[in-house]
């Protein structure tokens, strides 16, 4: 019938309209859930960074529904340490791609660094949900839980990680921290011990173990672990994290390259360190510390022409000139160009009168000229301005002995016997020699005997032999 057919059509049209409305409302609701892009004051950024960030921002704006575009912006901001903006961009990327792993993971890491553990835990939990086997995500979540005081949950997380990856020092360290927070000292002790056994240079774990031993009254053991911490406080076992590595790889400016150069130099890779420093200089020709570094590296490689080249390239009034002159001074000393070396260190001291190493080097040059009193004055200044500069204090003592004032030298040598390390046998030897010169045979023998023993324990055969000869001489005296 006509009326019924009209009613059916109207009903169908109404259904379509309603469905459309519902989809529209859902879409609006979803759009309302998507956080906006962060406000970034692009114009206030310096040139190379500004261009990169502006380009990434443009991409993210041009493709508002693209999690990848927003995520690229977030990672770039993260790489440039603009963490608040990065966090906001990660949250947007996360909302655009709720099933992705990397956005909540990186958001969680950023929140950890910002000291916002609740938000960090939220992101990292979501990341672990997406990838339950992700080790970095679980380690990060454990950190956040510990910061929140959720020790029980943290303990369960780290215990599971230990069971799955008994080779992972971070898992044992985390378990130790959780156990400690719950008052389970035995488990904490065992966990820290395992962490440090797996990676002895694990500074944080050595520190935790040291303080725990201290609390248990095991003072000697505590001091041993704390000494190891002192040597390795910056060191931690590596954690394979491809996602974070991608972020870190986005910024390879001169600072990052110089950091790599220093790492290579420390690892003994001289050509690698030189190459990296040259690269840094290419990126920023005015980077004085790259020049200073190259002077030192080429000096180690005994490539004097390159030392000269990089020294001449630095303007006289450049910022950081002090470091350049200092390294040049050392290079000149190496070459036996004493007069020019002196002038270089004098330039350092003119700009930086308290520079202890410069005073020490100048002292050595003056001593080489036989000017002992002048040398002594510079050694004293070096020692007075740098508490841990044992070499300078050793030089003070040495020159005093050579000036025929051994008793004055004694307190200086006594001061540098701690810490007990590779240098100590030599310093003890010097103390013994000072006592011998002062005519106190008993003290001389005691110090020399101790020095010989310690040198032997450290495999310092030549030193031990030299001490042995002196012991024989002093021992034979009436």
């Amino acid at each position: 019938m006509l009326v019924e057919r009209s009613g059916d059509a109207l009903g169908r049209a109404g259904g379509v309209l309603l469905a459309g409305l519902l989809v529209g409302v859902a879409g609006l609701a979803r759009a309302a859930d998507i956080p906006p892009l962060p406000q970034v004051t692009v114009e206030a950024l310096p040139a190379p960074t500004r261009e990169r960030v502006a380009a990434a921002l443009r991409q993210a704006r041009d493709r508002p529904a693209s999690a990848a575009a927003t995520g690229e912006l977030a990672m770039l901001l993260h790489a440039y340490d603009q963490l608040s903006s990065a966090a906001a961009a990660y949250e947007r990327a996360r909302a655009l791609a709720p099933d992705a792993f990397e956005w909540p993971y990186l958001a969680g890491l950023v929140m950890l660094r910002l000291g916002r553990p609740a938000e960090a835990a939220s992101g990292l939990r979501a990341a672990v949900d997406r990838q339950p086997r992700s080790v970095p995500a679980r380690v990060g979540l454990g950190e956040a839980l510990l910061a929140l005081g959720a020790a029980t949950e943290a303990r369960a997380l780290f215990a599971a990680l230990v069971a799955e990856r008994p080779d992972l020092p971070q898992a044992h360290h985390g378990l130790g921290r959780a156990a400690g927070a719950m008052g389970n000292t035995d488990l904490a002790l065992e966990s820290y011990r395992t962490a440090t056994r797996l990676f002895p240079a694990y500074g944080a774990a050595q520190y935790a173990l040291g303080l725990l031993c201290r609390d248990l009254g095991r003072t000697e053991e505590a001091e041993e672990h704390l000494r190891l911490h002192q040597r390795h406080w910056r060191d931690a076992p590596p954690l394979d994290d491809a996602v974070l590595a991608r972020v870190l790889g986005l910024k390879q400016g001169p600072d990052e390259i110089m950091a790599e150069a220093l790492r290579l130099a420390k690892a003994g890779d001289l050509p690698g360190a030189i190459h990296a420093s040259e690269q840094a200089l290419e990126q920023d020709p005015g980077l004085t510390r790259a020049q200073a570094n190259l002077i030192a590296l080429y000096a180690r490689a005994e490539r004097w022409e390159k030392v000269e080249e990089h020294y001449r390239a630095v303007p006289a009034n450049a910022s950081g000139r002090v470091e350049v002159d200092f390294n040049y001074g050392i290079a000149l000393r190496q070459q036996g160009r004493a007069k020019e070396a002196k002038e270089a260190f004098e330039r350092v001291l003119a700009a930086s009168p308290l520079d202890a190493p410069a005073h020490n080097h100048l002292g050595m040059l003056l001593e080489g000229e036989g000017k002992l009193e002048e040398a002594l004055e510079h050694y004293r200044r070096a020692a007075a301005n740098a508490a841990a500069f044992r070499a300078a204090r050793f030089n003070v003592g040495r020159v005093l002995v050579n000036l025929g004032r051994p008793l004055e030298a004694v307190p200086h040598f006594e001061r540098i016997l701690e810490p007990d390390d590779e240098e100590t046998p030599r310093y003890l030897y010097a103390l013994g020699a000072a006592w011998a010169r002062a005519g106190d045979r008993e003290k001389a023998l005691r110090c020399l005997g101790d020095a010989r023993r310690r040198a032997g324990e450290r495999g310092q055969r030549e030193l031990a032999a030299a001490i042995e000869r002196d012991l024989a001489t002093i021992g034979a005296e009436p």
């Binding site: 910022s319 740098a386 841990a388």
Partner: protein
């Protein structure tokens, strides 16, 4: 009017007459900022010329002390200058306000009572009469009566020569640095007067920072490549100094003999206190970006650095932190002194809880201090019982030292807001939002903070200095006004006249003894009121005040009245009660 309309009119009237559900009044914030209002007008001058020289961002400090002995606290403010004295201040990027004289300033407190007995606060600049308007690149100030003449003296630290000002007692001060032998040309920061050898004369410890010179200055950049202030690690740290008071107005540098030369670091905050309870004052030095030092006083004229073993050199993860300001106080009420150190953003401040005998644990997260402090760069800080509930609260003056992401593009992108953190007595702190109304939301580059009862109304007020900004005075107006008790200590026989280092215990039946220390140091570059303050909570009755004087004598004052300022003179007390510790 028709009957229906009349009914409607009555209903309307009834509706209007019906009481609206009352909304509780918003409590007034516990503090009110009043500096300009009371005549405390001072703007810090950095001398910046756009080179980002490190000293520009570090100052400066403030002292609260009663220089004229009239019973109220005066204010001494440390000022900066041009780093190159041959250039006029007008060439600075942020010149001083017109009419502001150069140099440090002393403001006399002209506190009086109005007809109803309420305090009326007003400050007068008396710098010229006092002879304290020295132009130097000032950093901090320490207060102590070094010559035991009953008048507090000043030691002003600087980039360049420090100055010891002797209080002449007639409203003027004299520069006695050379005669006293306490000059130091290094970049000095915080300092403290302490009687480290318990001979009754105040000695002097001076923290030194790094070997900065304009000629040796380095250019640094932030993560995006914009020029920024350098971290101290790009320079070498220089050693601190300990001067022994020989008497007769002279000091002797005993740094090496005392063992202080055995460790160094870029020293910023300093506090002297007996951390291991052996009766000898120790020294804690907050080193910027380097391990902090806890110099344990061995009682024989020497010190040993116990920072590492004590657990206070690093944070709980074994990492050195920014470490700028420091406060010592008994935060958990167990009778020993805990430490609070302010740090850089993302590090959070660190609370080191004393486990007894000078061994500490990092309790920052456990006490809820990590999250509220992590976004900020903390400097001046102190423990104060602002609400008189008997538990020590915390104030932190914040201000950045590096470009802040959120302020990028602004001319001085370092402003932050400061924090008041209330001790909940359940082993946690919580941030007090809006603690000074709109003033607590201001973004400023705060540095020094000094604590004391400026208006003598029994509660603790706070003076805060701002780098390149105005001084702020936050008057405490916390409600409800719970009872309190304050004590001014006077050392006996002309010794350590302010009793610096004395421990004072407040005894109440059935409650643990509250312990406080008489001190003027701590915070950052600043000196506070050494009078000891107690909040009494809900119990007005006090059984006794126990005093352990710096040289070991123990005395008690019984049944002191609440809501009073007592003067406790060494030798006039009675014996301690049996069993008291």
């Amino acid at each position: 009017m028709s009957g229906a309309r009349a009914v409607r009119a009555l209903a309307a009237a009834a509706a209007l007459a019906a009481p609206v559900a009352a909304t509780p009044p918003t409590p007034a914030p516990p503090f009110r900022e009043v500096a300009a209002e009371v005549g405390l007008r001072f703007r810090h001058f950095t001398g910046s010329t756009g080179e980002h020289y490190l000293p520009e961002i570090m100052g400066s400090g403030v002292a609260l002390f009663d220089y004229d002995g009239d019973g109220d606290l005066d204010v001494f403010l440390v000022q900066g200058a041009m780093l190159d004295p041959s250039r006029p201040p007008s060439e600075a990027r942020y010149p001083p306000p017109p009419g502001q004289p150069p140099g440090c300033r002393l403001f006399r407190n002209d506190l009086r009572r109005d007809a109803s007995g309420r305090p009326v606060l007003h400050f007068t600049d008396v710098t010229e009469q006092a002879g304290l308007g020295r132009v130097l690149y000032g950093m901090g100030v320490a207060v102590g009566d070094y010559d035991n003449d009953g008048r507090p003296d000043l030691y002003v630290t600087a980039l360049g020569s420090n100055v010891l000002f002797h209080n002449n007692g007639d409203g003027s001060f004299s520069d006695v640095t050379e005669a006293a032998g306490v000059g130091d040309d290094r970049w000095s920061t915080s300092a403290t007067f302490l009687d480290y050898d318990r001979d009754g004369r105040l000695d002097l410890f001076v923290a030194n920072y790094v070997d900065f010179t304009a000629a040796g200055s380095k250019k640094c950049f932030d993560a995006v490549g914009a020029p920024d202030y350098c971290r101290p690690a790009v320079y070498r740290s220089v050693t601190d100094r300990l001067f022994h008071n020989e008497g007769g107005g002279r000091f002797r540098d005993v740094t090496e003999a005392a063992g202080i030369l055995n460790a160094d670091g870029p020293g910023l905050g300093v506090v002297a206190a007996d951390f291991d309870g052996d009766g000898w004052p120790d020294l804690y030095v907050a080193n910027d970006g380097a391990p902090n030092q806890l110099w344990r006083n061995k009682g024989d004229g020497t010190f040993e650095d116990r920072g590492l073993l004590s657990g206070t050199a690093y944070n709980g993860e074994g990492l050195p932190e920014g470490s700028m300001g420091v406060a010592a106080g008994d935060v958990d009420g167990d009778g020993d002194l805990d430490l609070f150190v302010t740090n850089l953003p993302r590090e959070a401040a660190t609370l080191y809880l004393n486990q007894g005998k000078g061994l500490f644990q990092d309790a920052t997260d456990a006490w809820g201090l990590g999250v509220p402090t992590a976004p900020f760069t903390g400097f001046g800080t102190g423990f104060l019982d602002y609400d008189h509930d008997g538990w020590l609260d915390l104030f932190v003056a914040n201000g950045a030292v590096a470009n802040r992401e959120a302020l990028r593009g602004q001319p001085y992108p370092f402003g932050e807001r400061s924090l008041l953190l209330r001790n909940l007595a359940s082993r946690r702190f919580e941030e007090v939002s809006g603690w000074a109304g709109a003033a607590s939301s201001r973004l400023e580059v705060s540095r020094g903070a000094a604590f004391g009862d400026v208006d003598n109304d029994g509660d603790i007020d706070v003076v805060v200095t701002n780098n390149n900004g105005p001084v702020r005075l936050f008057l405490n107006q916390a409600e409800p006004r719970r009872p309190w008790l304050m004590a001014r200590l006077q050392g006996g026989a002309g010794e350590n006249t302010q009793g610096l280092g004395a421990r004072v215990g407040l005894v109440r039946r059935g409650r643990p003894t509250l312990w406080r220390c008489a001190h003027a140091d701590g915070s950052y570059l600043s000196a506070s009121d050494p009078r000891v303050h107690f909040g009494l909570g809900d119990a007005e009755r006090v059984d006794a005040l126990l005093v352990e004087w710096p040289r070991g004598r123990r005395e008690a004052w019984y049944a002191p009245l609440a809501r009073t300022l007592l003067t406790l003179r060494e030798g006039e007390g009675r014996p301690w009660p049996e069993g008291a510790r």
